[in-house]
């Protein structure tokens, strides 16, 4: 039995209080909020996923209040005053950068919440700044450049192949085989398309040919890292990586599977990166390995999809490899959020499968 599942109802009597009422705030999604169908797809099931989590909370005999993240939210929260809130919001009115409004409102109303704060979430929607912070603090990342227009001068030290990513949008939006450029003509065309469609800057970075690892960090009193390699099955592709289509359009036809990955060095990098990116409670990183075995952090997500395995999210899949299931993660998150709010020390995240700090 691992440490998380050791928190039973009996432990609650010993002081591990669970909240009586929990609000779940989820993205209020309408197609017209999003510039493209692709971006809409990443969020369209937000209410379904919130209801899934609600069912788990109800099993813990917790009163659940569901809130779409919109401008009516502060008024409703002020009226209901839930003991705490699970913040699942990725965007408001289709804008990911507005997601930091949610912790802003919750702090103003002094309602405890899961996940990171205003700074953490606003950093999360500016990949360029996070890359700068990681680089500054010695976390290995590929060489990169921010393009505000398709005609910006190009850094001559960047080496092809290059991959173009939207600076403020997560969820793999516009990550396709066409994201890879092997020459400047293609890159400029790609930049023109992305900037004119999404009206935001684009991060261009060197594409690291090699393997890919996803790391999940759970934070309690300590920080536990769980890692899995994405093993790609469609090896006839020129460049092996998870595309938007792989992530959102091919349910049941997975182009990769996860297998446990262990390396103390990477685990230490992940712990450091978690603090640098100002993550809290949980976070996710994607890391590439080149042919020499060098690591390159290519993506960090402060607010990754959080839910049970049936919601098809990486967090639950990877933790499942380590024998930790969603109710255990959820229960620990609730207890620690309440303990934090009361100024009590958090409970550690422990299990037998991964190395202690």
């Amino acid at each position: 039995m691992n440490g998380i599942s050791a928190i039973t109802s009996g432990d609650q009597k010993n002081g591990y209080d669970l909240p009586k009422s929990v609000g779940i705030i989820f993205s209020d999604v309408k197609r017209e909020y999003f510039p493209t169908e692709a971006q809409y797809i990443t969020e369209k099931d937000a209410d379904v996923d919130a209801h899934l989590i609600a069912e788990y909370l109800k099993k813990l005999e917790i009163k659940v209040l569901l809130y779409p993240g919109n401008s009516d939210l502060p008024t409703k929260l002020k009226k209901d005053k839930p003991d705490m809130v699970i913040n699942l919001v990725d965007s408001l009115k289709g804008y990911e950068f507005l997601s930091s409004t949610i912790p802003g409102v919750l702090e103003l109303l002094e309602i405890p919440y899961t996940g990171t704060d205003i700074l953490g979430l606003s950093l999360d929607t500016n990949k360029f700044v996070v890359k700068k912070l990681l680089q500054q603090n010695g976390i290995p990342i590929p060489n990169f450049q921010l393009f505000n227009s398709a005609t910006d001068m190009m850094d001559p030290t960047l080496r092809y192949p290059l991959i173009s990513k939207l600076n403020e949008i997560h969820g793999g939006v516009e990550i396709t085989q066409d994201s890879i450029s092997e020459n400047e003509k293609h890159l400029r065309e790609r930049l023109k398309y992305l900037i004119s469609t999404y009206h935001q800057s684009v991060v261009v970075e060197e594409f690291i040919v090699g393997r890919e690892v996803t790391a999940i960090l759970l934070e309690g009193l300590n920080k536990k890292v769980y890692m899995a390699e994405k093993v790609f099955t469609e090896t006839d592709r020129k460049y092996l990586f998870q595309t938007f289509e792989d992530q959102w359009m091919s349910k049941g036809m997975k182009t990769f599977y996860y297998q446990k990955y262990e390396d103390p060095l990477l685990r230490e990098y992940v712990r450091r990166a978690f603090d640098i990116a100002k993550m809290m409670d949980y976070g996710k990183f994607d890391v590439r390995l080149d042919s020499s075995g060098r690591y390159f952090f290519i993506d960090s997500n402060t607010n990754p999809a959080f839910g049970p395995k049936e919601s098809d999210c990486a967090l639950s899949y990877i933790l499942d490899l380590y024998g930790i299931d969603f109710p255990e993660i959820l229960r620990r998150l609730l207890i620690n959020t309440i303990r934090d709010a009361k100024g009590k020390e958090r409970l550690p995240v422990t299990d037998e499968a991964s190395e202690e700090i």
Binding site: K78, L92, F97, L119
Partner: protein
């Protein structure tokens, strides 16, 4: 034009010896807010003053369609990212506002993260350590050091005692910061050269006359830094002003201006800010911190509020300064 003025008022006057007052040191007196409202009214604006507290959201929500612009002078409450709360709410309610956005204000309030970002852009900042508890001090450190709260403005938490000469003083001061603010103490080398404040206004920014704090004018017993004692006791009570504006810069002027512009770009600042820069004994400048929003106390209340003081030297009267800030912000929304 209907202008919503978002503000916070203090309930205790800043007193270096009263830890409770440190928490409100960057808030304003009621008299200051009233004077800002009057100045906005003189400009012909219909002013809606809103205290930036738990009730503010509802007032903004109910008035969102009639507010032309929010003059964001709020510092926020209940949060380590408090200066970012109201920009986030304005964004949500689609109310145009003055000053920087959520990420910029949140970064600036977290001095350690802001320094990391600045450093990554090649801007000179001092190396620092973060400590939550005095007992955590293990590294070999070179004294003198200065101990600051990681996320406060207006010299809150910075007193004569903030400069420490040995490990025991360092531990004491870290514990003071933690018990007063419940947050990390940022510890960096205490450099003892000239200190400048650089007010910036506009998009792209115009650098207003640079202010130098002339520490030689400080009475005996005052440390040579902009501490609470200096800002809230000496500058307010003394008839002699220790501020030189415009500062006599000579060869260092371009260097300081270039640094300020780099900071503005690296942090994504909008409309206005004030940057504190200090030199080491060799005259090399380092960015200490950025103030966003900067203090804007009207001259009828204080003659030493840096930003209005510098604006006056540039020939910009206080009401015109407020109007320039509004105009600058409005242009971004057109």
């Amino acid at each position: 034009m209907k202008v919503a003025l978002l503000y916070n008022v203090r309930h205790i006057y800043p007193d270096p010896n009263d830890p409770r007052s440190h928490k409100e040191a960057d808030f304003d007196d009621r008299e200051t807010i009233d004077a800002i409202v009057e100045n906005l009214k003189v400009l012909g604006h219909d002013v809606l003053p809103i205290e930036a507290n738990e009730e503010a959201y509802q007032i903004l929500y109910e008035n969102k369609n009639s507010i032309d612009i929010a003059f964001n002078y709020s510092l926020g409450i209940n949060s380590k990212d408090r200066t970012a709360i109201f920009p986030a709410i304005f964004d949500l309610l689609k109310i145009p506002y003055t000053g920087s956005g959520v990420l910029t204000n949140a970064l600036i309030l977290n001095k350690a993260k802001a320094k990391d970002v600045m450093k990554s852009h090649g801007i000179p900042v001092l190396p620092h350590h973060l400590f939550k508890n005095g007992d955590d001090v293990k590294a070999e450190l070179k004294f003198p050091l200065i101990v600051k709260p990681i996320a406060q403005g207006s010299s809150a938490g910075i007193t004569n005692d903030s400069v420490v000469e040995n490990e025991s003083e360092l531990r004491r001061q870290i514990n003071f910061i933690n018990s007063t603010f419940g947050d990390y103490a940022l510890v960096e080398t205490f450099i003892q050269g000239r200190e400048f404040s650089v007010p910036m206004l506009g998009n792209p920014p115009e650098i207003l006359p640079i202010i130098e704090s002339d520490h030689s004018k400080l009475p005996k017993g005052y440390r040579k830094l902009d501490s609470m004692e200096v800002k809230w006791v000496f500058e307010e009570q003394s008839e002699e002003n220790n501020l030189i504006c415009p500062a006599k810069l000579d060869s260092i002027e371009n260097k300081i201006k270039n640094i300020a512009i780099k900071v503005w770009d690296a942090l994504g600042i909008k409309d206005l800010c004030r940057i504190d820069i200090r030199c080491d004994q060799n005259g090399k400048p380092f960015v200490l911190e950025v103030n966003s929003p900067p203090g804007l106390i009207p001259p009828e209340v204080s003659k030493t509020s840096y930003f209005p003081f510098s604006a006056k030297v540039a020939g910009i009267a206080y009401p015109q300064l407020l109007q320039k800030i509004i105009d600058t912000a409005q242009k971004r929304y057109q």
